[in-house]
């Protein structure tokens, strides 16, 4: 949890998730991200997950909920850098992480937010 960072660059909030995040910390982080969106008045959020070794149903729901909350607030969220192993596990389990747009990595995500590149369509039915 202490390894997670939130940095504002220009108009974008970059949230880097790292390590083994317990459920309570994930929930706290969700609130912290939402507060930061308002505090910094950003139009986009990139959640960088390339260091996450696991996304189970709880973390999947937190990510999906956070993206939907940020959208309600008026900003856009991109999930960037999901590891292949984690993607495999999510699909095999049958999890649907709804309403979240994705990008291969942080650089791509920033390009998308600048409008230079199309994001992968959001996952799930309400995208």
């Amino acid at each position: 949890m202490e390894k997670t960072s939130i940095v504002k660059i220009q108009n974008v909030l970059i949230v880097t998730l790292q390590g083994d995040i317990d459920d309570h910390s994930a929930q706290e982080l969700q609130q912290e991200i939402l507060q930061s969106v308002i505090h910094h008045q950003v139009s986009g959020v990139v959640i960088e997950v390339s260091q996450l070794e696991l996304v189970d149903s709880y973390m999947g729901r937190i990510l999906s909920d956070t993206a939907r909350m940020i959208r309600l607030m008026g900003a856009e969220t991109l999930l960037a850098g999901l590891r292949p192993m984690v993607a495999i596990t999510i699909v095999e389990m049958g999890l649907s992480i709804e309403g979240v747009k994705t990008a291969l990595n942080l650089e791509d995500a920033l390009e998308v937010l600048k409008g230079g590149r199309a994001a992968a369509p959001s996952l799930g039915r309400d995208g």
Partner: protein, 131 residues
Amino acid sequence: MTNRVDIQREPDVVLARQAARRAAIEMGYSLVDQTRITTAVSELARNIFLYAGRGWMEYRHVARSDRKGLEFLFQDEGPGIADIDLAMTVGYTSGGGLGMGLSGSQRLMNEFEIQSRLGEGTTIRIVKWLG
């Protein structure tokens, strides 16, 4: 080899999955299988915390004919599961969860077995075979 992780507080779920990952790495599972095992363990350890309040996970090496594997047992003395088929249904939850824990972990593992008695508790056994 038998190891045990007590699950009484939420951070114990993290300890359980870290123990599972270490065991999977030691046995030489592929990165994908390490992730499958750790994710399934995370779901089932969380279920103990959510539904029974406390319980424990035990894990050990198992062998059948020429195959080796890792077996995890999740045990609690909680309220038990009234309808196992219903609990296994994708999307069904009795406790505000996502309803993916049991069905999801079953899909990630090779073997999955539940025994539950109302008022006495639940035991879930999962196995992943190596290779």
